[in-house]
Amino acid sequence: MATRTQAPAATDEKLYRVALREALNEEMERDDSVYLIGEDIGKFGGAYRVTEGLLDRFGAQRVVDAPIAEEVIVGCAIGSAMLGLRPVVELMTINFSLVAYDQIVNNAAKIRYMFGGEAKVPMVIRMPGGAGHQLSAQHSHSLEVIYGLIPGLLVVAPTTPEDAKGMLKSAIRSDNPVMFLESMSLYNVRGIVPPGDYTTPLGKAALRRSGSDVTIVGVSRMAVLAHEAAKQLEEEDVDAEVIDLRSIRPIDWEPIVESVRKTGRCVVVEEGWSTYGVTAEIAAGVSERCFDYLDAPVRRLGGAQVPMPYSLPLEKASIPTSENIKQLVRAVVGK
């Protein structure tokens, strides 16, 4: 039963965080088995105010303020999911999810396969990552890859308000554990959110810009920067195609391969460490699938290979910028 909670105008621009909140609101309305659990998500409305107002609306049974204990929060979500509930966990940042990594990797990801498909874990873990706020070494990393490498998980990173809402709805309705990776720097981004109840499929990349000279694949916020870089490169007569990866696991190879076969060149960008990174996987996959079409080696760009430093100039030097992307693209197209 799909209940429409609000009917926003077709051109309604919304913040990324508000789009997420709408998805939670609507899914909780639609399905009583959906509940939220996390730190400071109820009374306080969440560290990034995504869950604001939901406690008042749905009550403490369905918006659970938990102790600061990520491992048991995730374990609790898993157990309840095995009995048919649909927990949506909020972790304050992906960095803290390391405390719960065992539960995520050894239980959430494995239960369905390990029990021969007899059990399932329909749950979502939402959490932001990303740097740029001088939060230093323990609060700034984009650890997408540590989930991307685990079979049994779906891992997505929406970059627009529209995708944030549509993909969160899909994630909640999925029967598999979904790692839903948000970005601290995107919460205040505005964008058009279609009216009514819609879902955006998981597992699909999105073409953000068509071009003929080079394919830029961006992961999470880097897809936004790649788009900016591509627009600026127009002035230099470089026509770049931009693909927003959106799904880190599984990787949607088809549009990437199709694009690289057309352009013959590929640059892959992530905010995390590119050695053993998401970009390493994409670069390897593109090389395997497009070898005969490539006019240049696939190039990767990632964050500096250090724990994020605090000092502003150091931090700036450690995060890829659209300028860095442009430089690499120029090198790849030979300009």
Binding site: E39, D40, K43, F44, A47, D65, A66, P67, I68, A69, E70, E71, V72, N95, F96, L98, V99, H133, Q134, L135, S136, A137, Q138, H139, V306, P307, P309, Y310, S311, L312, P313, L314, K316, A317, S318
Partner: protein, 331 residues
């Protein structure tokens, strides 16, 4: 007061140093030269000072995201801490760590870890190191009440007890984790009772009174040092500032107002409480108290001006050019 005039003034001075640094951060943060999250210690100064005043220089300490008071009370350099907040190379962590990751090898302050309860398990290892090097030093692991929501907090207590390690776990209970009260997170809110269930000696103190903290800490430390067994000290006080950010909920130190507040027996301000205790028992120390209340903030303000100028200079000269990573970062 059960301490000498010298110790009493030492405690007061340290607390005022901490408060003045925190107030300096509040005042300077708006210039946008200090950035990132700051978890201030306003209201909780007596916890760090009361405990570390009875520690020895060779004792080692670790802390959490709220580490300013611990660093300063352990004897970390004020100037190097302020430089760290400005992200300067002269900072105590050379600008790499920031507010949540202060470090001072010289002061045996082994840094601060900000993913809960990161430093509590590390305190166990520090205790092992202290035990093995035979100097009878003690490891002090500071944490908040929120850290004791995490499972490995209790794993740490257990391991320290099993291995008989000289660790003092100081649990600073301000009743809150970010915004969620302790009672909403723990069914048994008596941290000492839990510590005893794990086989540790435990004590409590009201940390508005620095001398009460000091007394309780001396007792448990004595036990830890003489038996090489861990203990827990559970302290309570109010956080008189925002969880994070440059926001104090009380007025900056003002000598007149502080002397008036010192007469208020129900004050929640540990500095006022300390001044009150001193003036009650040793009224002749009034001049010294006033000197501390006036002199320290002036000195600290000068440190901020110096660091701010260094920050502006660096930006003017170097722009946004990153200094090379420290040698330790290369293989």
């Amino acid at each position: 007061m059960d301490v000498t005039a010298e110790v009493a003034l030492e405690c007061l001075e340290r607390m005022v140093v901490i408060r003045a640094v925190e107030e300096g951060i509040c005042a300077e943060y708006s210039n946008r030269n200090i950035r990132g999250p700051v978890h201030l210690s306003i209201g909780q100064e007596a916890m760090a000072v009361g405990v570390l005043n009875v520690c020895r220089p060779e004792d080692v300490a670790v802390s959490t995201h709220r580490d300013h008071a611990h660093y300063l009370a352990k004897g970390g350099s004020v100037g190097a801490m302020i430089d760290e907040l400005y992200g300067l190379e002269s900072g105590c962590s050379r600008g790499y760590g920031g507010s949540m990751h202060l470090f001072s090898g010289e002061a045996n302050f082994m840094g601060a870890s900000a993913v809960l309860p990161g430093s509590t398990p590390i305190a166990v290892g520090l205790g092992l190191g202290c035990k093995l090097d035979g100097r009878r030093a003690v490891a002090v692991g500071f944490s908040g009440d929120g850290a004791s929501d995490e499972g490995s907090f209790f794993e740490a207590l257990n391991l320290a007890a099993v291995l008989k390690l000289p660790v003092l776990f100081v649990c600073e209970n301000n009743g809150l984790s970010t915004n969620t009260p302790l009672a909403a997170r723990q069914a048994q809110t008596d941290i000492s009772a839990k510590a005893r269930a794990f086989g540790l000696v435990a004590a409590n103190a009201d940390a508005v009174d620095v001398f009460a903290v000091r007394r309780a800490a001396a007792e448990v430390l004595d036990h830890v040092r003489s038996t090489s067994q861990p203990a827990v000290l559970a302290l309570t006080a109010d956080r008189l500032c925002a969880h994070v950010g440059p926001v104090s909920t009380i007025d900056p130190i003002d000598t007149g107002a502080m002397l008036a507040e010192a007469a208020n027996g129900a004050t929640r301000d540990p500095i006022a409480s300390c001044v009150g205790a001193i003036l009650r028992d040793e009224p002749q120390l009034r001049g010294e108290c006033i000197e501390i209340l006036e002199g320290v903030p002036t000195r600290i303000a000068a440190e901020f001006r110096r660091a701010n100028a260094a920050f502006e200079d660096r930006n003017a000269v170097a722009g946004l050019v990153a200094p090379p990573p420290p040698k330790s970062h290369t293989v």
